[in-house]
């Protein structure tokens, strides 16, 4: 079923900040078209892992391969690699001086050097894809959080990435705005976009993930299908964490 | 020779410091008076103070210096260039210091006045014991900036023939035929003076800061 080699492969990644070991010898294979959800307590190194995969932060040791080619090699052009790996941040990080359309276009015109008209057409398509064609000329400050995050997704998609990384894309959103962002992500999963998603939205994980990875203190504690983890967790730590999460989740739905 | 060079210019340093130490306190006293008049002086007094501030700050210091200098050294009274120049710089600075204090008074706010009046203080007592002690603390950082501006502007009295650092440098440049060294030394001394003044005032701000005051 899986196409070899993995589209994104991490081998024995280790990352430290000074004395602080964030993670050690983490390995991870992401196959084409699959959606992987990473869960785990905060401070565990999930965001750092995503940033390392995108080469936004250098790893101390280990290798990362994209379509079988090592991107951690010193000779690699990192800017070109980042074009092929899309990233969506917790706090959106839209470019404040550009409209929604401008945000999606700027990577096309400045990085990919696409002609203006062609870039505009493509950007409008991407905005359409996230349901925001009618907001194209709004500035970030004129959009709701959910809309901003969808523009951020469109901005990443416009670069035609091989993989999309999501770092808690709904954590900064008011509860009533979470659905619209998860909806877009779900649709991407159905279109077989390859996605690596850090999230605490267990509903999304259960419905959409092909695999779930539970990370704690810089280690991968357990991984498996949603059924495996939710119904038959092997590790006591996993059970505990899922218990706490569903408690919180339940509270929020009541509240 | 280099040492003689420096000692000659250093004699000008005491004059520069003297000009600054006359101008700055004078500007503070006048500025405080104008700030209080602006804030508590009623409509017309307040407007007059505002016009004073706008007019003084809208004109280059050197232009004002010449007008005031000629008034103070002949027309109105007959002061020496040192005193006429220093007092003129003080008057010029008063408008800037007024703005600093005015902003600080406003930042302390009406509610402190109301609270002081509520425990039976007179308006004057409230200003003296409640408002000013707080306003002065708030004013220290921008006031430090003004202090180093006055120190630098003291070089303008060169034009009146007062033998401060720059005038000394010019004399040296003429006698030694080493203009770059002479003016370079003057620049270095100013740089050190401004640096020391800034550090000293930073320390003062640190010492007088209230606990939990916003940085």
């Amino acid at each position: 079923m899986r196409e070899f080699p993995p589209i994104l492969q991490a081998k024995n990644l280790t990352k430290t900040y000074g004395e602080n070991v964030i993670f050690k010898n983490i390995s991870l294979d992401v196959y084409k078209g699959e959606t992987i959800v990473i869960i785990g307590p905060s401070g565990t190194g999930k965001s750092t892992l995503l940033r390392c995969l995108n080469l936004l932060t250098p790893v101390d040791s280990g290798q990362i391969f994209l379509e079988g080619e090592e991107i951690t090699a010193p000779s690699v052009n990192q800017d070109q690699v980042r074009q092929k790996i899309g990233m969506v941040f917790q706090n959106f990080l839209l470019f404040n001086h550009l409209t929604a359309l401008g945000n999606v276009m700027v990577g096309l015109t400045k990085v990919k050097k696409m002609p203006h008209n062609q870039a505009k057409e493509k950007a409008l398509q991407e905005l359409e894809r996230v349901g925001l064609a009618d907001r194209a000329h709004h500035y970030p400050a004129q959009l709701s959080g959910g809309q901003q995050q969808r523009v951020a997704i469109a901005r990443a998609l416009a670069m035609d990435p091989l993989v999309m990384l999501f770092d808690e894309p709904t954590s900064a959103l008011d509860p009533e705005l979470i659905g619209e962002v998860l909806g877009v992500m779900e649709q991407l999963a159905h279109e077989h976009m390859t996605m690596l998603v850090v999230t605490h939205e267990m509903g999304f994980a259960r419905e959409v993930a092909d695999r779930i990875i539970f990370m704690e203190k810089g280690r991968i504690v357990e991984e498996g299908t949603p059924e495996d983890l939710f119904e038959r967790p092997q590790q006591a730590r996993t059970r505990e964490f899922l218990g706490r999460i569903s408690e919180l989740y339940g509270k929020r739905e009541k509240g | 020779m280099v040492i003689q060079f420096f000692t000659y210019i250093l004699q000008g340093t005491s004059v520069t410091l003297a000009v600054t130490l006359v101008a700055l306190p004078l500007g503070l006293i006048l500025g405080l008076a104008f700030a209080l008049l602006y804030n508590y002086g009623g409509l017309w007094v307040s407007r007059l103070a505002a016009v004073y501030s706008l007019a003084m700050r809208g004109v280059p210091p050197v232009a004002l210096l010449f007008v005031l200098y000629f008034l103070l050294s002949g027309r109105l009274v007959n002061l020496s260039p040192f005193w006429a120049g220093s007092i003129s710089l003080g008057i010029i600075s008063s408008a800037y210091q007024m703005e600093i204090l005015r902003g600080a008074l406003q930042a302390v706010g009406e509610s402190q006045m109301i609270a002081a009046r509520a425990i039976g203080m007179s308006r004057f007592q409230a200003i003296r014991y409640i408002i000013l002690p707080q306003a002065i603390r708030l004013a220290i950082p921008p006031w430090s900036n003004e202090a180093s501006i006055v120190l630098k502007d003291s070089s303008l009295v060169y034009a009146l023939g007062v033998p401060e650092i720059l005038r000394r440098a010019q004399q040296l440049s003429a006698t030694t035929q080493q203009p770059f060294l002479a003016f370079g030394a003057a620049a270095l001394i100013y740089f050190i003076l401004v640096f020391l003044a800034n550090r000293g005032l930073d320390l003062l701000a640190e010492k007088t800061k209230l606990p939990n005051a916003a940085a």
Partner: protein
């Protein structure tokens, strides 16, 4: 009072010819300062150790010494090293170098305000560091800098008056010439002061207009979060 008005009217044409030079020096100084200030800020924020130290030294030296001393160092001092500059060039350089050091500080403040994360987001879509600086950071930082920066033209206009001490034919120099011709320094310099006041008012109004017309919809709200 009437006599001052008469005086003012009589010598207005003389003074007017100085205004042109004053405005020219201010405009040149602002532009040169903008280029220098931008370069210094970029060197200080994004440069390696050498460029960073150089930029800091430039900014601190020019902010820490009087403009008049800088002017004299250029006009009287440089010939000692075999470099002779004309009055106009000395004035232009002194004003540009001085303004650049101040403009660098305005820009640095706003680059810091734009924040590291915008850089991160730009790198994430594959921009190089310098692409991110020019297409993402600077367009925002320059806009944010405008309110604080808008004080600089007025400030430099006033500062430009010290160049009369090397006899560049601007407004103050004209006033001085009138003073020595009429033996009436008070009225002469007062006339110059009035004209400066008007110029300052006009430049200030222009800056307010600029501030209002470069605002982004809703951006100020977004910044408060």
């Amino acid at each position: 009072m009437i006599s001052f008005l008469e005086f003012f009217v009589r010598y207005f044409p003389d003074l007017l010819s100085g205004i042109g030079m004053t405005l020219l020096l201010t405009a040149e100084g602002i532009l040169a300062g903008l280029v220098l200030g931008l370069a210094a800020t970029l060197a200080r924020t994004y440069g390696g150790k050498f460029w960073r130290s150089l930029a800091i030294a430039y900014i601190e030296l020019f902010r820490g010494t009087p403009l008049l001393v800088q002017l004299f160092l250029l006009y009287y001092g440089l010939p000692g090293l075999g470099i002779a500059l004309s009055r106009e060039w000395s004035a232009f350089l002194a004003l540009g170098l001085n303004s650049g050091a101040y403009q660098a500080e305005y820009l640095r403040g706003s680059i810091l305000a734009v924040g590291e994360e915008q850089m991160l987001a730009a790198r994430a879509i594959g921009m190089s560091k310098w692409q991110a600086i020019f297409y993402i950071i600077l367009p925002q930082a320059l806009r944010l800098a405008i309110p604080a920066w808008a004080n600089e033209p007025v400030s430099l206009l006033k500062a430009s008056s010290v160049v009369f001490l090397i006899a560049v034919p601007e407004l103050m120099t004209r006033a001085k010439m009138i003073a020595s011709r009429t033996y009436d320094p008070i009225r002469s310099y007062l006339a110059a002061a009035v004209l400066y006041l008007i110029l300052v008012y006009l430049v200030d109004a222009a800056m307010k207009w600029l501030e209002q017309h470069t605002r982004l919809p809703g951006l100020s709200q977004a910044r408060q979060k």
